[in-house]
């Protein structure tokens, strides 16, 4: 058990972090999914007083992960933002402008509904459906109809907010977010901590790495 766990796919070296990021070492790239920037703000605008601190913490965590790995690029596999524009996105833009050298690449997800102008002004490169680099294919939702991965390609996706439960006595169960590795694809945990989880059930040749507090645990 530790905070970082290595995982090889072919010749490519990946490092899972308990802060819900995946570092692609060969390319100095940090991969994340489902940031849902503006979600607390969206709730608050509708009169639901969720503490905003959780959003600020998300940004701090992302910052320290970028610094820790010395990442040169950030790939977001969808759902960077949660809904329509609000003030919290202003804070995100300020945060982003503090790293002019960081290249930010978004593969759009179902929540990414802002105008092109916003992405341009926030200096984010956007792909509508999928993005292919070497043998890695980045998309938002693995179940998206019309998705075609050719043989030899490995997919990284988000959307699902995968989680895994550990059952205890008396019908009690604890749920944890996880990295989910299948044969030809990986589903990343949702980066934002203001998200729920969807329970996955790994098959025999699949692997799930649960994130339990500050540790990564192979289930």
């Amino acid at each position: 058990m530790s905070m970082y766990v290595s995982h090889m796919i072919g010749t490519q070296h990946l490092i899972m972090s308990a802060e819900r990021t995946l570092f692609w070492e060969n390319e100095s790239t940090l991969i994340v999914a489902d940031l849902h920037v503006g979600k607390t703000g969206h709730f608050r605008k509708e009169g639901i007083g969720v503490p905003q601190q959780i959003f600020k913490d998300d940004l701090h965590r992302l910052l320290s992960q970028i610094l820790f790995f010395k990442a040169e690029r950030l790939i977001i596999v969808g759902d960077l933002t949660h809904s329509v524009e609000n003030k919290e996105m202003g804070l995100f833009r300020r945060w982003r402008k503090d790293f002019p050298s960081l290249y930010v690449h978004l593969v759009k997800g179902n929540h990414d509904i802002l105008d092109d102008k916003w992405y341009r002004e926030t200096e984010i490169t956007v792909n509508a459906g999928q993005y292919l680099e070497k043998s890695f294919l980045f998309i938002h939702d693995i179940l998206e109809p019309g998705l075609k991965a050719t043989k030899g390609q490995y997919i990284f996706s988000g959307h699902l907010h995968p989680g895994i439960s550990i059952r205890g006595r008396g019908r009690q169960a604890l749920h944890f977010p996880c990295f989910y590795f299948a044969n030809n694809h990986c589903v990343l945990p949702a980066f934002s901590r203001f998200t729920g989880t969807y329970q996955v059930d790994p098959k025999e040749n699949e692997k799930a790495f649960a994130i339990i507090e500050k540790e990564i645990v192979l289930m």
């Binding site: 709730f43 905003q52 919290e88």
Partner: protein
């Protein structure tokens, strides 16, 4: 004085024409109403309690307007709060009959979720003299602009079935509504006073002329029930008792042979055949089953045994489609149904006159509930209520004896009112904010006058105001929070969208996450809990509303099914609804068992009423032979070793919730003596600790292990209160407006606002641990889930009693049902039945 008034003469003449004369308690109430007093009328259902208050209002009105039969429209005079929509129609009809025959120019209005918009608009223009309303609709009325005007002419607020509302958050809603109405009437009085009147001479009691009358069945804390209602008026009020005892005839249905090793759940069904003659002999029978799942099974079983009943027997529970339930209720009314299998869903409601007989299957868990159910039959003041008790295991027969005793001694449960419900208060403040807005100073004074919030601190109040106006902690510069805004000191919700959403969410009844069930070809069956459906595979067959249904798929939050002819089906087990044995019934049960033990020693004879105990004699004999039958001042503990390991059985008879908490605490305390792990099981009579090594409990340490010292600290260390609070938080969060339950039309738009209660619980626990709603969830766990006060009482009782530790060579009749319950989790029901039968055979050899 009353008898000389014109109103009294008119009303009594009218009654006499119908062949009635007023009961004493009615006249007493009328006099109090004329004297502008407030209070509580205590009368059983079907004894004219409605007329005690309603005719009082009429007499008062006639006296105030003698000779004038058609005065102009007066505005609202009497506000009649009722817990059930279904009751409103019935009461409205009865009232209209009186008005019509007395030729009074009054209008009776009904306002609840079913009231058509046009009617509501009419009411807005001209309020009827009498308005019958539910607590939720009353809050909706308060959410209207200019609500103070509606109540200007109000003289009497009647709260019907107050015992049902008290003890729930709906009761708190009633308290808040009364505080607002009393407050607004008082401010009218104050504003019309001459200005020379200084602060010092301001009267301390409410002198607005408003009377409040509660109407309640007998409960253990009638005086408190009255105080809660009177609190905003700051006067004492009176209690009027009807002193009319309804005669109740209780008869147990006995199995042909008493099982010495009883276990819950299967005996009942075996006795179903004995119900057929009961059903056939009476006009209409209500059969009360404790859980929705079992009611489905019973309905099927009765039909299987007696196919003739098809068409004249029906099923009624909370998960069945509303339309179908209404159909059942209507046919109960008209006497077309011979029998209805039902759950607590028919505890309350209109009187079904054709009902002659009631059957209670399994423990009713409390005296009040049993009385209420018995009262569903024989619905006229002098009729006898007939109730059969059908045990689901033989030991429950002792409960029947205890019930009889408790009823004859009038030992009836209390309904403790809920205190400091921040969730309801947040909702209420937002309700005021969507009407005309509110001034915190004035409203704080009003809510401080309620029973529920009299101990709220200024700090907590400020925290609530901050929560609704600023949304708790925020990053000011990047915040869009919007709900209640402050304008010239007035708290208001100005956004129309937020206001509308709030109106749609007024209420404190939070349903489980439910899913609709529909036929593929169209047609609605009912609702079922999401978690149950989520475990089904397509093709699985389950039972709902008495039908076998094949699960096909889930689409758009609906489960689609088709009819199935399969014999095998899964009966859903609905969460919740498993009430623990009440403290009162537990106590009487301990006394009943004690009497039994003395009788066997030949000290007293058994009376005819306790025939159940005679029938149970073989079971008690075996219990005594193997172990001991505890007396009232004894606590029995049994050490038994079996192939499964070392068992410790303890029998406090305090209900399963207390036992659950106690088992955890005891396990924790024992594990400090020596490292040891346990599994637990419990039922309403006792609990079990099971370990793979001997359990170190003996005469030297047992009093220490059951000590009330350090209870709170030990609870926190042993019971997983966080998980319990997480579950409670859902209700609190829904009522407090943090979670939107979908509603038609906005489901899609609100999708980006979905967050599970569990997620919100995590977020608040981490970032705002002092949040009041979070604190409330924990408090509710302590008060309701663990019944902390009762736990403490039990430990103090045990300290004063004698603890008897026995070492039986094999399982005893007392421990058997607990043991079977503990196997239930791991085994399917068929395997369970097999295994239990083998165990019984071995033990009875």
């Amino acid at each position: 004085m009353l008898r000389e008034t014109k109103g009294y003469k008119v009303v009594t003449e009218w009654l006499a024409q119908k062949g009635f004369q007023p009961f004493l308690f009615q006249e007493e109430t009328w006099q109090h109403i004329l004297d502008r007093k407030s209070g509580l009328v205590n009368a059983p259902t079907g004894c004219g309690k409605t007329f005690s208050v309603f005719l009082g209002a009429i007499i008062k009105y006639i006296n105030e307007h003698p000779g004038d039969k058609h005065p102009p429209k007066q505005g609202l005079k009497l506000l009649w709060i009722t817990p059930l929509r279904a009751l409103a129609k019935d009461i409205g009809r009865a009232m209209e009959e009186v008005i019509g025959e007395l030729q009074l120019n009054w209008k009776i209005g009904i306002r609840n979720g079913d009231t058509p918009l046009a009617e509501r608009e009419r009411q807005k223009r001209q309020m009827p003299e009498v308005l019958i309303i539910t607590p939720e609709s009353l809050h909706l009325l308060i959410a209207q602009k200019g609500h103070e005007n509606i109540f200007r002419s109000l003289q009497i607020i009647a709260v019907d079935e107050w015992h049902e509302l008290l003890g729930s958050k709906r009761g708190v809603q009633v308290e808040l509504a009364i505080s607002r109405i009393a407050g607004s009437l008082q401010s009218i009085v104050n504003s019309s006073e001459p200005i020379v009147d200084s602060q010092a001479s301001r009267p301390t009691t409410n002198d607005s002329g408003l009377s409040i009358w509660g109407i309640s069945a007998t409960i253990g804390n009638l005086d408190e029930a009255k105080q809660v209602l009177m609190s905003p008026l700051k006067n004492e009020g009176v209690i009027v008792r009807s002193n009319m005892d309804k005669r109740i005839d209780i008869e147990s249905i006995f199995p042909d042979e008493i099982e010495k090793y009883p276990w819950a759940g299967h005996l009942g069904i075996k006795l179903a055949g004995k119900l057929i003659p009961v059903i056939q002999q009476s006009r209409t029978t209500l059969i009360f089953i404790n859980t929705r799942g079992m009611s489905e099974t019973w309905y099927q079983t009765l039909l299987n045994i007696c196919p003739d009943l098809a068409g004249s027997i029906a099923l009624h529970h909370g998960s069945i489609d509303m339309e179908l339930r209404t159909w059942v209720e209507e046919n109960l009314h008209s006497g077309k149904l011979k029998a209805v299998v039902c759950t607590a869903s028919l505890d309350l409601g209109v009187d079904f006159r054709p009902v002659e007989t009631v059957v209670q299957v399994g423990s009713p868990k409390g005296v009040a509930r049993f009385l209420q159910r018995a009262g569903r039959s024989g619905h006229s003041p002098d009729a006898i209520s007939k109730i059969y008790f059908l045990p689901t295991h033989s030991l429950e027969l002792a409960e029947a004896a205890a019930l009889k005793k408790a009823i004859s001694q009038k030992i009836i449960e209390s309904r403790p009112p809920m205190l400091l419900c921040y969730d309801v208060l947040i909702q209420y403040l937002n309700t005021l904010a969507v009407s005309d807005g509110f001034l915190p100073g004035q409203i704080f004074k009003e809510i401080k006058d309620t029973y529920c919030y009299k101990h709220i601190s200024k700090d907590e109040w400020e925290q609530l105001l901050h929560f609704i106006s600023a949304g708790g902690k925020a990053l000011t510069q990047y915040d869009d929070y919007k709900k209640t805004e402050i304008e010239d000191g007035v708290y208001k919700i100005k956004s129309r969208r937020l206001a509308m959403r709030h109106r749609l969410h007024i209420g404190t009844i939070v349903s489980e996450a439910m899913m609709k069930v529909r036929f593929l070809q169209g047609g609605y069956v009912g609702v079922i809990e999401e978690w149950f459906i989520s475990r089904l595979q397509p093709g699985d067959v389950f039972t709902l509303a008495g039908r076998n249904l094949e699960f096909i798929m889930i689409k758009d939050l609906t489960a689609y099914v088709r009819k199935s002819n399969s014999k095998k089906s899964i009966v859903p087990s609905w969460q919740g609804g498993r009430m623990p044995l009440s403290a009162n019934l537990g106590r009487v049960l301990r006394e009943t068992l004690d009497r039994k033990s003395e009788t066997r020693r030949g000290k007293t004879g058994i009376s005819e009423e306790e025939i159940e105990l005679q029938v149970l004699e073989p079971l008690f004999e075996l219990q005594e032979k193997l172990s001991h039958v505890p007396k009232r001042n004894e606590l029995l503990i049994e050490h038994i070793e079996t192939d499964d390991g070392f068992h410790l059985f303890v029998y406090p008879f305090e209900g399963r919730l207390v036992h659950e908490a106690m088992a955890a605490i005891l396990a924790w305390r024992i594990s400090r003596i020596r490292p040891i792990t346990f599994s637990f099981a419990m039922n309403d009579y006792g609990f079990e600790l099971l370990s793979d090594q001997p359990i170190p409990v003996d005469d030297t340490n047992v009093y220490e292990l059951f000590s009330p010292d350090n209870l709170l600290a030990d609870i926190q260390r042993s019971v997983n209160s966080t998980e319990m609070a997480r579950r409670k938080f859902r209700d609190v969060a829904v009522i407090g407006g943090l979670i939107f339950q979908g509603y038609p039309g906005e489901q899609k738009k609100a999708r980006h606002l979905q967050a599970s209660a569990s997620l919100l619980f995590n977020v608040f626990s981490e970032y705002e641990p002092d949040n009041l709603l979070l604190r409330q969830a924990y408090q509710e766990v302590f008060d309701q889930q663990m019944e902390e006060a009762r736990l403490r009482d039990m430990l103090e009782r045990i300290q004063r009693s004698e603890i008897i530790i026995t070492f039986p060579q094999r399982l005893t009749p007392f421990c058997f049902p607990v043991k079977v319950d503990s196997m239930r989790e791991d085994l399917s029901s068929e395997k369970l039945e097999d295994r239990v039968r083998r165990m019984q055979q071995q033990l009875e050899r």
